[in-house]
Symmetry: C2
Subunit: 420 residues, 2 copies
Amino acid sequence: MSRLVMKFGGTSVGDVERIARVARLVAAERKPGRALAVVVSAMSGETDRLVQLARGAAGEGAGSQPLSSAEFTDEYDVVVSAGEQVTTGLLALALRRIGVPARSWQNWQIPVRTDAAHSKARVAEIPEEEIGASIDSGVVAVVPGFQGVTSEDRITTLGRGGSDTSAVALAAALKAVRCDIYTDVDGVYTTDPRIVAKARRIEKISYEEMLEMASLGAKVLQTRSVELAFAKRVPVRVLSSFVEPGAPNPGTLVCSEDEIVEKQVVSGVAYSRDEAKVTLLGVEDHPGVAADIFGRLADANINVDMIVQSEARQPGLQNIVFTCPDRDAARAVEAIEGAKEKIGVEDIHLRRDVAKVSVIGIGMRSQVGVARTMFTALAQKGVNIEAIATSEIKISVLIDAAYTELAVRALHTAYGLDAN
Amino acid sequence: MSRLVMKFGGTSVGDVERIARVARLVAAERKPGRALAVVVSAMSGETDRLVQLARGAAGEGAGSQPLSSAEFTDEYDVVVSAGEQVTTGLLALALRRIGVPARSWQNWQIPVRTDAAHSKARVAEIPEEEIGASIDSGVVAVVPGFQGVTSEDRITTLGRGGSDTSAVALAAALKAVRCDIYTDVDGVYTTDPRIVAKARRIEKISYEEMLEMASLGAKVLQTRSVELAFAKRVPVRVLSSFVEPGAPNPGTLVCSEDEIVEKQVVSGVAYSRDEAKVTLLGVEDHPGVAADIFGRLADANINVDMIVQSEARQPGLQNIVFTCPDRDAARAVEAIEGAKEKIGVEDIHLRRDVAKVSVIGIGMRSQVGVARTMFTALAQKGVNIEAIATSEIKISVLIDAAYTELAVRALHTAYGLDAN
């Protein structure tokens, strides 16, 4: 018996007609010797509605927040998790309607155990004996994503977007051959098709590359789900939920590097506009200064990305440049501004109209000249590089945001990614 | 420690503001030595929305019904039960917001065990140790009404209106001193105040009287909940959820007969317009005829109420009159019409513009002349009686529907029920 987990997001199950289509997509995957489990999100809009109700009941609004997080999140989870429960019952009914044996499994029935970190819980354990035996007998299991229960049997949620993680965790527990994530796009692209018309769907991509793509702004799969798939070695396929059942729908397979025969030097070009650049001028150059600065930023819960250190004009002083999400920029400046004298910083500059563009590829490891191709392509278009960061399989540059599309297109062409 | 169960219906928890009011009503009942459990319905409109979704997913509509009841009701229960879950989380948050320790208890967490009759389940057992200890420690329990779980841990619902029954069952399990049912009326009235302006709120009414009132059309409490309260001897109070917390709100206490010192001869006047009268003329008068007729009606699932047998003009023949709910009338006629020859029935008449008016009171048992008062009052107003049925504590008459209000008012006055 080979097991397959399928996952459908909120827009895919947005109304009764779409749920009927999902049922047909599930039916099309049935065949002898295959067992199916389906993970579903709440109908689109439903989670937002429930979140608003919970906040209203807790008296949030107009800046007031009468309850502490500990007083709020456990019952918030009770309210919000009802959305997925509804979808599981509806899909089970829609499957039976077309003759497919099915039943819903609530998380407490399996049970999907998580830690007790309400509203951002992590899956700890999924005993697969009972649900596994049920799907092996030919009954499709329909499971609510995004949630679980603590060891005390209280309801938890995994946080927004946690349904992908639920699906991967269930696939790992069931030792499924694959986890198919149905979305509103038909796969992972070499870059954003809204910017580059010649962007191509990627057939196969490694977990590592996908992690870089996801965290760099290609919003196809939730980062945590890819990390989990990587750790548990679950092959994940991203494909469209809007094709007709039975029609070709290859999608993109996210898998181990060693399953990818033809390794691209660069698999994709990602970008992010949610960036800000903070420049600290005239920083005293002695041991412990950087630790002080980045310690303060960490305390303020600011996610620092690139860091560039350079000598200032005056001897004994240096300049430090770092980037962070644009929404954190004001708080980052504040965190340093307040302790300028104490740390030893002369001046602070903030620039918000910047973007980060990255090229990603596992082939980089064995190739030289990848960075040169990038810098040359950007220079030819007159794009100035403000900062550079590299990892084993990625090169990122910070540029003027106005040049984002131009840079993405130039790099897509330079690395031979354009479709014919 | 004395325990109290409070129950709030859908209109009482219809939005976040109303839930906040319910929280204040609960807070007003807190005092040292008292433990509280609150049973809630889904927010008004929510159950209907979920029922529609479930029917849509099952492909119902335009007369088609692709799924059998067995294929439909278990997952229907999964869908519909989500409504109450949402309310429990919201009310727990609203209570905490005003400083009252509270938590939601889903039925599977208690667990509230029912039989496996999905969509019309009956509560079998509620272990009270864990939830009882929790409320005794001062934490208000918020429990979803209308549902439970089978011994196989599948979700069940008790059918529409089952929240009253949930509340009474929980009160019985917790050995609560009382079960307070908050509704959109402030108690049980001697008759419908829309018909009789001088109708009075009843202070105390016996279970038996309340059962007659409920089944005769006074839609305050669900019949099953009163039956259960009667069987388990749980005092039930019906009161308004729309008064200000702390304001006087005595309601009506439904309790054992022996707790009622001043027994009214007649406690209330009830009526029902959902009645039809079927007359079978020239029925052969030999043993087994009545069994044949009412057997056929039972097979057709028709709820027969009054039955009157009388001799016809021709010797050896009789007339039989019975009443049933108006919505069943056409089917009742059909059930007999098809077998007219076989049974031996000459003709069938159907009259649909009839109403049933009843007077109810435990005092009737020890009083004579109650029926005479009724017939005299109706005769004085020129109201013709089409059929009569009596029980130990009730007299019902069938009359022309046009006279309903007139009859109710006349009886209310005749038995001295009018308020000063």
